[in-house]
Structures are given as structure tokens and as C-alpha cells.
Symmetry: C2
């Protein structure tokens, strides 16, 4: 290990210095570090010695990146404050899977909270962001200015349903089908009056009751499709939009539904966290789950503090993240990549049961 006495901005040691001290050309020195072509062992030794003596720690990443045209940075755009987005274990699991593949590629994941939440001018600094590819992994708006900027720069963009646009490769889940599948499960259990807790239809909305028309006009494709999936089965489900896909919003939304004159016997929530909040709301009202109220989620994440086994759609978020990563990898390898469809499945837990007698 090279001794480093002083910190600060000592003049940077470059390949030129190393080559000079070793008495070889820069090209040769470069080959020693990249290993792209064989170098005679004693020459290589001299170069390495020189490097060590000078405290050269290897090629300067930026210079290297410029030459290679690859920075080793994959941008992951988070269309919310990290504090909110990462509260959801689904997001964290997807990110984990993605980071695995990105790590295997020898790249890093650049977290890019999109302060504008997808609208407005992302600001000039965005175009200064170094990235080989950009990934959108939240269920956000179908239009996103940041995505458009990346695409215009020729940076490959991958999404999971949103944003969409020409040149954006998707890893897609059959949202509508999956959602309908949950609904059918409840219908088969005899439920006829259901409430539906949707994810945000737009950023910044309050938690509250909605009409189907509002849903149809939403620019959040995932939310919209899942809502339509429920509607395919239950024509008249009461709709509540959650302000955030989190526990508190699920709690509040469930209370709105249960306060209705004709309270539901089942609540379909479009995220596990929302569902957990709904279960809590029921429990606080003295309703037993699933005897008095069935609750379903969507995602299939593990919530260790939630003592139940949620009936949910298992999205295998970790694998989904990996799938996204693999698309990125293939795109950067120059392969022709089309949209990928990602399989999900219903997992029945202990939060759903037959509709209460007399209410079916």
C-alpha cells in the first residue's frame, strides 16, 4: 500500500508519470493495467513498481470512461422522495434485484430522485448526469420529462410499465389480468360488495373516493390497469385513491370505505403496504380479518412485522428487478431487446375468506 502522508490536491499522478518512471511508452503502461494485450513480464513489473512508487492507483475513471464511451453508471430514477419511495419494501426489493445485476456488470446504480415528479423542467443539471442507461422502476406517470431527456440523448431507457414512449423498453406485468384474478378470487368466495384501494392516480392527490371516470383519465398506467382489472369483475366496487402507497394511506383509505353506508365485505388494495394498513384499520374497528372482512394486497413482499399471510399477487419483486437489470445488460451489450413480459401469480394467504353469511 502506497504511503500517503498529505491529503489535499497534490498534482495527480497520471499514466504518463508512471510510464516515464518505468521508461516505457504510455501505450505499454496502459496495456499493463488493462491487460488487453500481453506485456513482457519484466516490463510489466517495472511499470507496476513505478506505479506503486508514485502511488498511482490505476487509470483515472473519467478519462477511461470517455475513451470507452461507458461510465459504469446506471441511473435509477425514483419519482418521489427517497423517504417515501423506499418506505415500500416492494421498491427496495426491486432495487435490490436490479443492483445485483448491475453489480455483476461491474457498474453502479445512480439514484436519481426526480424532484419534479416527472413533470416540468428537470433542470439543466440533468443533462450533465453521467449514465449508460436509465431505469424507471416505480409505477409512475406514463410521460416523464426526464425519460424523454435521456432518450433524446440516446441513453437507453427501461421502464416497468411507465413511463412509456418510443424507444423505452418495458418489463411488463399483466397488471389488469393479475388484478382481475384477485377480484375473481374474492367473487368466488362469495363477496359482492367490495372496496378498492388504488395507488396514486397522480402525484400530490389526497386520499379520497373516486369515480371510474377519474381513473380512466389517470396518466399512471399501472394504477389505471389494475383498477380496470377489478372493474372487469366487480362493476360497482367503491374506489378510493391512496395519497401514497404506504401504510397510513391504506389505513385512512380503508376507513373511508368502511364508513360508507354499504360497507364492503372485502377490500382489494393495490399494494401490500396499503393492505396492511387496511387490516389494521379493520382490526381497530373490531372487525376480524378474514371472518368479517377480507383484504388483499399486491406485490408479494415480506412484512415481518405484519403477523399475517396476506392474500396477494406475488410479483417476485427481486426477480423483477433482476429482469430489469438483464434488459439493461442486454441493451448495453448491443442486443436487440423487445419488451419483456413478466409473470406474476396469485398467492392465497389468511386474510381472505368466505363472505360473511347474510352479506353475500
Amino acid at each position: 500500500m502506497p504511503s500517503r502522508g498529505q491529503a489535499g490536491t497534490a498534482a495527480r499522478v497520471t499514466l504518463r508519470d508512471v510510464a516515464g518512471l518505468a521508461g516505457v511508452s504510455m501505450s505499454t503502461a496502459s496495456l499493463v493495467f488493462s491487460g488487453n494485450k500481453p506485456v513482457a513480464e519484466d516490463t510489466a513489473g517495472r511499470v507496476r513498481d513505478a506505479a506503486e512508487r508514485l502511488g498511482y492507483t490505476g487509470p483515472h475513471p473519467m478519462a477511461s470512461s470517455l475513451r470507452h464511451g461507458r461510465s459504469g453508471v446506471i441511473a435509477a430514477v425514483v419519482e418521489r422522495r427517497i423517504l417515501h419511495a423506499f418506505r415500500d419494501p416492494y421498491v427496495v426489493a426491486v432495487l435490490d434485484g436490479l443492483s445485483q445485476v448491475v453489480g455483476e456488470m461491474g457498474s453502479g446504480l445512480l439514484l436519481l430522485p426526480d424532484a419534479t415528479e416527472g413533470h416540468g423542467d428537470p433542470g439543466p443539471q440533468v443533462s450533465r448526469i453521467v449514465a449508460d442507461a436509465a431505469v424507471f422502476m416505480l409505477c409512475g406517470d406514463e410521460n416523464n420529462a426526464l425519460a424523454a431527456q435521456f432518450a433524446a440523448r440516446g441513453v437507453p431507457v427501461v421502464g416497468t410499465g411507465a413511463p412509456c414512449g418510443p424507444g423505452i423498453v418495458q418489463v411488463e406485468v399483466p397488471e389488469r389480468d393479475a388484478s382481475a384474478q384477485v377480484a375473481r378470487h374474492l367473487r368466488d368466495l362469495g363477496h359482492r360488495t367490495v372496496g378498492h384501494i388504488m395507488m396514486p392516480l397522480a402525484w400530490g392527490n389526497e386520499t379520497g373516493l373516486r369515480t371510474l371516470d377519474t381513473v380512466r383519465r389517470s396518466h399512471f398506467p399501472d394504477t389505471r390497469e389494475r383498477a380496470l382489472g377489478v372493474r372487469d369483475v366487480f362493476r360497482r366496487a367503491a374506489l378510493v385513491e391512496a395519497a401514497e402507497a404506504d401504510f397510513d394511506s391504506g389505513y385512512a383509505a380503508a376507513n373511508l370505505l368502511l364508513d360508507r353506508p354499504d360497507p364492503p365485505t372485502a377490500i382489494i388494495a393495490q399494494s401490500d403496504l396499503l393492505a396492511a394498513g387496511a387490516v389494521q384499520a379493520a382490526s381497530d374497528r373490531g372487525l376480524r380479518v378474514p371472518e368479517d372482512l377480507s383484504v388483499t394486497g399486491f406485490d408479494g413482499v415480506s412484512l415481518p412485522w405484519f403477523g399475517r399471510e396476506l392474500t396477494t399477487i406475488d410479483q417476485r419483486p427481486l426477480e423483477k428487478g433482476r429482469a430489469v437489470g438483464e434488459v439493461v445488460r442486454d441493451l448495453l451489450a448491443g442486443d436487440e431487446v423487445g419488451d419483456v413480459s413478466f409473470e406474476v401469480s396469485l398467492r392465497v394467504g389468511d386474510t381472505t375468506g368466505p363472505a360473511p353469511v347474510g352479506r353475500r
Copy 2:
């Protein structure tokens, strides 16, 4: 917005092309985009027109970075899999605060899961990672190969207690004092037999009982200092190391403590998540909190699903993250920056109460 018909690897449009079409030199064209010196309005217009016509989206970030010596990337090293680390709301909150400041700097946050968990060879690809600074925000090992690499490269490194080393600037919390403060709170409530759930003493350990000697030998300064803080007040607290700082480990650790022949009347957990797990364990055994068992945490995070107000040390994680970010900002501005000490305080909630009568 420039029309982009075809995707793919069309030859990149560079400043040279734009300058050529506009009939100016590259230097002038560059000035138009950087705004570093005034350019005559009609010249600037011609350049912007040319850029639009060619679909030039602004200076190439990598080239720009090379020239400026700044990449706009701040590396945040996570010494665990993201899936585990981000399960802890404390980590997420710190990250959120950090990302705010980093965002204000116009930079991005590069997530770097350290697969080696701080030991072993981080691999050659690490030295290819572009970053202006590196941040360690978890309570990890005091020695970290990755941190050493960054430091050797002259990249400023900032930590929160760990890793430490020459040239690593710290944002430090008085861990030992804070921990002792919690312990004194319990002693003042009459508790004499306490159990102590510690965070990991090393990566990969099982949850289990430990001796003080083992603790003293740990290379995780935060865990160690907090443990010593408890010991300053309770000489004979039973010690359990949690495998992870998460709910399940807290649950398991609490059970180990409560299974002892002389079960504690209070449990000190070194993270809120661990504490929440401990409360659950108590509750599953029919113990009331705080009447039968007091439980304390550390961090001061919000756990919406946890219906209690935990007695804890409020670390203001968001502000802590911001503080770390500000150190990074100042370092990159060239300021002389020393270690920062970060204030925390005891927050008494409803999970602690007087020791049960007859057991004090």
C-alpha cells in the same frame, strides 16, 4: 424538441458538428452552452439553431467531467445487500437527507452495495468507479477496504463513525453517551435487571448471547460504543447480538433474553426496528409493555405500523443525512473540514415505565 426518428447508434453529434454548422469555432459554441463568457446574441442564436437542427442535446457529460475533474457523482457505500440495509427506515431516512443535499449540489447518489462487506478485495472494477466523494452511512466496520481504496485515490471519504482512518471525515454521534442516557432513564424508573439487544458486532454472525469481552473485540465502533454506554450504567446487563438490525432479529433476540432464568424487566435495543421486534415478542408471550417489560430503541424513526410511541434516542436521521451531505459539499468546495459532532436526544415514549413491583 428535436425529432428523433431512428434509435440506435447513429454517430454521435458533437460540439464540433454544431460549431461547424453554425460557422463558429468550438470554443464559441462551448461558451454558448456553458454561459461562462458572454456571446453575441445572434451568434448564440445561430449555435442554438444548429444544435436543434442536429439534435445536439448539450455537452457530453463524460467529456465535460474529464475536463472539469468533477463527475457529479457521490458514492454512497452500503455494506450490505440493499434488501437488508434499506429495510431499516433509519438508513432510508439518512439516505433521503443525503440525497437532498446531493441533489442541491446538482449531483447524483451512486449506490454501491459492498458485496465483500468491507473485507477482502473489493475487486478491480471498484477502482473504475467514477465518484467525486464517497460516503459511508451505515454503522459498519472501522476498517473498510473500499474506503481505503477511495482514500488512496484521493477521493474524499465521509463516514458516520465507521469506517475510520486518516483523511476520513466523520459526522459523529456521541454513541456511548446517548446509549448511557437511555440506560439511566431505565435505572431511574427502578429497573435493575436489563437485557441489551445489540446491533451486529460483525457481519454474518448469528443472533445469540455474548460476553462483554466479545463486544470489546468488535470492529464495529457504533455497536461497541453503544454497548459500553449501557454497561456504564448496568454492569451486568445480559447481552444479545442481533444478526441484523431488523424486526425478526429483534424478535428472536428478545426471546433469548426473556427465556433466561432471570428475565429482564427492561430491554434496551440499539435500533428502533430491533425494539419493535422485541415489543412483539413480549406481546406474543402475554407480557404487557410497559407494565411488565419496558423496551427502548435507538434512532427515532417513524414506524407507521407500530402502534406505539417508542422510548428512543432521536437521531434525527434526515438531518444527519443532510449533515453528511453538507460535509461532502464543503469538502468538494475545497474547504478545510474537520469532524462534525451531531447532537441527539432522548425521547420518552410509552414503551417504558416503572419496573414491576417486586422485581426492582
